[in-house]
C-alpha cells in the first residue's frame, strides 16, 4: 500500500487504484487516475487528445460495489472508490474483445501498430473466432494518405481527430453493426472531401487503416 497526492484541493476525491490511494479533482476518470498512479489499463479507442468515446470496452476494470466491470475511460471517480485494474473478470472481457477485434481483420495487425502492442501486452496472440472479415478495399488516391478499409476497427479515433483536433469534419463513420467503417467526404476519397491533409487521422489510427504514405513508397508508386 502506498499513497500518492496529486494537487490536493478542498473538493478532491480519494480513490484507491490497486492499493494506491490518491486524491483527484472531481471529473477525473478512472483511467486518468490509474495513469496518475502509474497503473497500465489497456485501451484501443482512447486517445488522450480526444474526448473519451467508450467504444472498445478494452479498458474494463473492477470497482468495489459494482456488480459488473466498468469502462475506465468514461467512468468518473467517486469519493472512496476502490478500483482493481487486473481483476480476472474485467481482464477476461478485455482479452475477449481484443480477440474479437483480431477476428474481424483479414490479416494480423502489423507489429508496430497500437492494436498489436495492446494485444501482445494482454497476451492475446490469436482468436477463437473465425467468420466474416472486412473485405479488402484500398483507397490510394490521395498522395500522402492511404485508407485501407479492411483494417478499420471502427474505433472512431480518426473521425474524432478530424472533428475535435482539426475541425475539418472530413471523416465519418458509415454503415452499422459489423459493416461499420469510415469514409472521407461522400466516399470519393480524401481529395474530394474537406480534408486539409493534416495527418491527425493517420497519427491516431491504431491499425494503419489510415496511414501516411512515406516518401520512398511515393517514389516507388510513381
Amino acid at each position: 500500500m502506498s499513497e500518492v497526492t496529486v494537487d490536493a484541493a478542498p473538493d478532491a476525491l480519494r480513490v484507491t487504484i490497486d492499493g494506491t490511494t490518491l486524491e483527484v479533482a472531481p471529473g477525473t476518470t478512472i483511467l486518468e487516475a490509474a495513469q496518475a498512479a502509474g497503473r497500465w489499463i489497456p485501451t484501443v479507442c482512447f486517445d488522450d487528445r480526444q474526448a473519451p468515446f467508450g467504444a472498445c470496452r478494452v479498458c474494463m476494470v473492477a470497482v468495489e460495489g459494482s456488480p459488473r466491470p466498468l469502462p475506465a475511460c468514461t467512468t468518473p471517480c467517486g469519493n472512496g472508490m476502490k478500483v482493481e485494474t487486473e481483476e480476472p473478470t474485467a481482464r477476461r472481457v478485455a482479452r475477449t474483445v481484443v480477440e474479437l477485434v483480431l477476428s474481424e481483420l483479414p490479416e494480423p495487425p502489423e507489429p508496430h501498430t497500437e492494436l498489436a502492442r495492446v494485444a501482445a501486452r494482454l497476451g492475446v496472440d490469436g482468436s477463437r473466432w473465425s467468420g466474416a472479415v472486412h473485405p479488402h478495399e484500398d483507397d490510394f488516391r490521395h498522395p500522402y494518405l492511404a485508407l485501407r478499409h479492411e483494417l478499420c476497427i471502427s474505433c472512431g479515433r480518426c473521425v474524432r481527430a478530424c472533428d475535435e483536433i482539426q475541425g475539418a469534419f472530413a471523416l465519418t463513420a458509415t454503415g452499422r453493426g459489423f459493416e461499420a467503417n469510415i469514409v472521407a467526404g461522400l466516399d470519393a476519397g480524401f481529395e474530394e472531401s474537406t480534408c486539409v491533409s493534416c495527418g491527425a487521422c493517420a497519427d491516431t489510427c491504431p491499425t494503419d487503416a489510415i496511414s501516411e504514405i512515406g516518401l520512398v513508397a511515393q517514389l516507388e508508386r510513381s
Binding site: 484501443v44 479507442c45 474526448a51 473519451p52 468515446f53 467508450g54 467504444a55 472498445c56 470496452r57 478494452v58 474494463m60 459488473r68 466491470p69 469502462p71 468514461t74 468518473p76 473478470t89 477476461r92 472481457v93 475477449t96 474483445v97 474479437l100 477485434v101 477476428s103 474481424e104 477463437r128 473466432w129 467468420g131 466474416a132 476497427i153 471502427s154 472512431g156 474524432r160 472533428d163 475535435e164 475541425g167 469534419f169 472530413a170 471523416l171 465519418t172 463513420a173 458509415t174 454503415g175 452499422r176 453493426g177 459489423f178 459493416e179 461499420a180 469514409v183 472521407a184 467526404g185 461522400l186 466516399d187 470519393a188 472531401s193 474537406t194
Partner: protein, 551 residues
Amino acid sequence: MSRNLVELIRRHHAVDAPTALDLLKEAMEDHGELTDADRRAAAEASGLPEAAVYGVSTFYDDLLAPRGERHVRVCTGTACFVAAGERPVEELSAGLRLAPGERSADGAVSLAETVCLGFCHSSPAVRVGEEVDAGAGAIERALAGESRPAAEPDWSSLLPEPVLTRPGAWAGLRRALDTLGREGLLAEVEAAEVRGRGGAGFPAGAKWAFAAKAKGDEKFVVANGDEGDPGSYIDKYLMERSPELLLEGMALAGYAVGAGHGFVLCRSEYPASKPALEAAAARAREAGLLGEGILGTDFAFDVTIIEGAGSYVVGEETALLACVQGLRGTVSARPPFPAERGVYGMPTVVNNVETLANIPFVAARGAEAYRALSPDSETAGSKLVCFNERFARPSVYEVPFGMTVRELCEDVAGGLRDGHQIKAVQIGGPLGGILPASLLDTVFDFDALAEVGCMVGHGSILAFDETADMRDVARHLLRFGADESCGKCFPCRIGMRRAYEEFATDAPVDRARFEALLETLELGSLCAHGSGIPAPMRSLLTHFPDELGLR
C-alpha cells in the same frame, strides 16, 4: 455524440433549419433513392458537414433500400417469424423476383425487410406503401397487388377504471397548474414511484428531479416512441388511440422540470402514429392546452413530432437523442446523462411513451391512488401487455402487476388458438428472457421475473407453440441482434455477428465459445442491446439445451 456537431445543429435549429435526416427522408420519398446531390443539398440546408450527412445516409434502413412505385416491406419481427417462419420473405422474393433490398429494373416494385410493423396480433404482416396488410392471405394479396388495411383489435382494461386505455382528459395538467405547482407535481411523481415502462424500469421521478436541478438556457422533454421491440405494439396503440394522454404527460414533464418544448420520436414502421399525434397536438393547441399561456397561466409548452428512419437501437436514449437531432443513431457513453446534456446539449428528460401516459393519472389523482392500482403487488401503477397471433384473443390489455404469466396467457388472452400448447413465452421484447411452460406460474412483476432471468421490458408476451424449433428461435434473435447493432461498441459490433455465425449454419455450436461471447456481450457492451441479448440465450441454454445442437 460529437459536441461540435451538436453545437452546429443547435445553431442551425435556431434559424429553423431542418435536420439532415428529415431532408434525406424527403429525398427518399420523392425519388426512391439517395444521390450525392441529395446528400450535398441536405448538408447545405441542415448545416451538417457532408461527411456527417454521408454517415447518416448509410445508417438507417429507410435510407438504404431503393424504392419502386410499389414499395413492399415484409415484416421479419418475431411474431411474424413465429407465425410463418421464413415463408413471407421467401414467397415475396420468389413472386416479385427480387431479393430484399432490390428494386425491379423498370422501377415498378421494390422489396425490403422491416422489423416490426406492430401487427403482431395478425401475423404475417406486409406493408405496401403506407398500408399494412396482415393475417391469412396477406402475402398472396401483396403479390396480387390487392393488399388491404388489416383491422386492429380493440384494447381493454382489467382495472375497475381504465388508466391507460382511455382518452386523455387533461385533468392532470389542470390540477398541476391549479393546485400542485411544479414542486408539488414533482413530489407527487416521485412519491408515486413510476418506473420506466420502456425496459429499464428506472424511476421517472428521479430522472425528472435531475433534469429539474440541471442548469441550462432551455430544457426539453423527449418522448421515446421508438418501440422497436419485435412483438410489442403497446406504444403504437397509445400513440394512435390515446395521443392526448401522451401529450398531457409530456406537458406535465415540461412543467415539472422547466422545459418549454417536447419532441416525440415515433417509428416510421408505424405510418399512422405521426399523423395521429399531430392531429391531437393541433386539437390541444386549439383548446389552449399546448402553446403559450396554457389554461390561462404563464406556462408555455409545445411539441414537435418526429419520425425515425428504421433502427432498433434508436430506442436507446442516447441514440434516440442523436436521431432527434438528425445524426447517426449510435449510442453514446453516459455520463453525461440526457438530464445534463440532451437535445442541443441542453438538459433533457427522456421517458418512454407508456411511462408518460401514466403521469396524467398521477397528477390528477395523486400518488396514493396510483400506488393502489396494483393491489397484489409492490409495484405502483398498471401495465399494458400485448400478445402475439398464436393466442386466441391477441390484443393490448391493461392489467395490474401481480397476476401470474399463466393467468395473463390463459385468462386474459384465451390461451393459444386451435388447440396449440405453449412451449415457452418471451416477455418484454427480443432482449427479454424466455420462460418455459413449466414456469408459467411466475408472477408478472419486475422482481419475480428477474428471478427467472426474465424482465417486464416493454410488456409484450410472445408465445412459441409446441411446433417451435428453439435453435431457429436463437438464430432469429441473433440475426436481429447483429443486424440492428449500431456498430459503436466492439463487443456488440463484432460479438453479435460471431454469435449469429455460431447458429447461421447447421454445424454444432461450441458451447464454451458461445458462453464466452455471452459474457463479453453482457458485461462489455455499451448499451442494453448487446448486454440484453444474453438473457434469452441463457434461457434457451438452461431450458432447451437439447434443441440447440451444442457440442
